[in-house]
Symmetry: C2
Subunit: 124 residues, 2 copies
Amino acid sequence: MEQGHLSETNDLRCISEALSRVGDKWSIVVVMELAAAPKRFSEVRRALDGISQKMLTATLRGLERDGFVTRTVYPTKPPSVEYALTALGQEMVVPVRALGTWLVANVERVETARRLFDSDRQSG
Amino acid sequence: MEQGHLSETNDLRCISEALSRVGDKWSIVVVMELAAAPKRFSEVRRALDGISQKMLTATLRGLERDGFVTRTVYPTKPPSVEYALTALGQEMVVPVRALGTWLVANVERVETARRLFDSDRQSG
DNA sequence: CTGGATCCTCGGCGATACTG
DNA sequence: CAGTATCGCCGAGGATCCAG
């Protein structure tokens, strides 16, 4: 019996499916944003600057549904809604941040490889 | 000066951009598959079972371009091409596997949250 | 066996306008 | 301020046919 091998075909499907939950254009970014501090709808919107309100709504709904964020409505006037990470969401931040850190740290290497690849294609 | 905070808006863009490189439908899965062992085109295709040959080609090209995999042609007859992870690719496997492991380990919690959310919507 | 070229569909996503 | 509804674009990605 394999122990936590994770490369078994079955797990592979599991991973890709799980990744697709969080691998859309905005989920990760929103989670990272909320990881810093809970924020209101507009705050997140401004912080991300580039996300449409439709996608922000959809993304937050999805994250809420999956148990990564909570949505708290304060019946003030005008109403305000605060989004925050759940325990689950905070836990997820750890591996996500690790991956993000690695990617950011290695952007150079990727771009170097890319330039090499492209120039080889031209002259090659 | 911030120390590796990673949630600064600038890094956030960096992350999302970097993630989009690897966050498409197949890149991660292919990388994980090659992490187990170098494989030929058809082997990867069969192992993944569900990817079209067009997407496999495109994915491998992308990964090769970004310096994550190598492509070695053996001029046999019929020709065979072997794909393998570069050092960069192998390094990336570490954080990716960490995330994948976490995701797989927490699928239950996500699905539970999801069911709760959905039933609340109905009755609420 | 490897993989390029084409066609076509579907869905993500943005823009805009409107409601409470 | 927070959220919904609608429309339209565009690109990811699958199916298929063809070539070295």
